[in-house]
Subunit: 297 residues, 2 copies
């Protein structure tokens, strides 16, 4: 297997879907010029991170998979001959929406979708209001650049999700993400959060012996409640990165600016690392029943 | 809950069980003088790491739980009024041995045992030859300093083990360990291995919102096959450490020398961190059946 060049598009998002998509399109073209065969966009890259508040009007941001956002990306994929990982606020039916990642083949055809399985609901991240839990399980999406284990943001805190993608044959894991700091947190707390986020995803690379890619948005997005509350919004922390199968950081983007990471991945490393660290061999599947419980006590 | 002072005893081991135990006894006494209420020893602290080769004579190192090693530690626990986590090459019956961790209450009574569930079998770590797989599951051991989620070495690469201990109510995770470098590996490879080992365990702290403690042995132990092979033995890499519930490193021991880490842990942090990062709330137990399979394809 030859090295596969991957690109991570880390960007800010404004209120205009059109402008966000045009920017993404320019970055995809730039990545292709730099040799990328796989280009990954961040979570909900076509819109602001509207989940900072619960507002019925925000459902207007949603589209079906056949809608204009994915049409735009399909055209971009075909034009640049790259495989794309995009993200969509998916309108599946009236009253039924998902946070969905879409893989588009370099021919412009949709290769498959993943609907976010683990949903947060925390102050400023009211995702359980907008999205129904994914119902497609943890199935990698086959593409011309490999089987892509696409997961989304909050999934990254769950070793179960990474393991299931690996057991289902993923060649690498890809996490479109939207995570940031609360501006009022202390510098020490911010540092711990960023380190925890990176560490957790590096651990998925190690436990499963594969590359892990995380694409985060960047920059401040003010809270719609700004005028009336002390909540100042979210400072998305960038730091999009690629980890190798021993968890080693291969590339990392800026923490404050838009960035385009283009890196050649040697996916053969999975074979080598798993021979040295054969963790899949020794799982105690006879003793894991408790993982299907909410709690043991 | 008041802070609980914990001690990690990181030491070298020689061929004499008596001398290894005496050294451990001195360290336990020193830890108690420094205020420790819980003292943790490394994996197989009473013997050399005999698993570097497959030799039937090494079964002579084994003892029942009622044998002299645990008698020694029970006396030490009672004398110092500390809870101890010890490790034993357990002889359960003729032809049936385990790699067993033992928790001893400060009264000198055995509080419970854990038999290593995940066993390695790699060059220089022939544990599947010596040990039968543990059959007690992932059950924390109740003690006067909390419910101790005791796991052993190779278990540390398995998010499943950490998760099950947390779901079963562990207050913290404790990994007695024996891991090191092959002397002929490159400096870059050694660095990646050490970082992967630490990262993996930090991730258990993060994913489960609790403290994680790892106690490793230190120093070169030559291979018994040294005279005839190129194998030079294992350089145990020390680096025993404590991570807080966000994965942050609170203390770390030397990478080359014996060391005694004594640190006060604020176990109340688990409540605070799990409120901010409620990962246990959102597990998709309806979609985790695949975790009970060896592989999905």
């Amino acid at each position: 297997m030859k090295p596969m060049t991957i690109a991570l598009v880390q960007m800010t998002c404004g209120p205009s879907k059109k402008q966000n998509l045009e920017k993404a399109g320019q970055k995809i073209a730039e990545a292709a010029r730099k040799g990328a065969r796989l280009v990954c966009l961040q979570e909900l890259h076509a819109t602001p991170y509207f989940c900072q508040t619960e507002d019925p009007a925000c459902f207007d941001f949603a589209e079906p998979i056949s809608g204009p956002t994915m049409k735009f990306l399909c055209t971009a994929a075909k034009k640049t001959k790259t495989v794309l990982v995009g993200s969509l606020f998916e309108r599946r039916s009236a009253g039924l929406y998902h946070n969905t990642a879409v893989v588009i083949e370099k021919t412009g055809k949709i290769a498959g979708i993943y609907r976010k399985m683990h949903l947060p609901d925390d102050p400023s991240y009211y995702e359980k209001y907008y999205f129904a839990p994914g119902d497609l399980g943890f199935t990698p999406i086959a593409s011309s650049v490999g089987k892509l284990g696409v997961l989304v943001c909050w999934d990254q805190w769950y070793p179960e999700a990474a393991r299931l993608m690996a057991l289902n044959g993923a060649d690498l894991l890809i996490y479109p993400t939207a995570i940031g700091w609360e501006p009022s947190d202390t510098a020490a707390e911010k540092k711990r959060q960023l380190l925890a986020w990176t560490t957790m995803q590096q651990s998925h690379a190690i436990a499963n012996g594969l590359h892990v890619v995380s694409i985060n948005r960047v920059g401040l997005e003010k809270s719609p409640e700004h005028a009336t509350k002390t909540n100042k919004g979210i400072v998305f922390w960038g730091n999009s990165f690629i980890a190798g199968p021993q968890g080693e950081i291969l590339a990392r983007a800026s923490d404050t600016k838009e960035d385009l990471v283009v890196t050649a991945l040697d996916l053969n490393r999975t074979e080598k690392v798993r021979r040295a660290w054969p963790f899949l061999r020794d799982r105690r599947i006879d003793a894991y029943n408790g993982l299907l419980k909410r709690f043991g006590c």
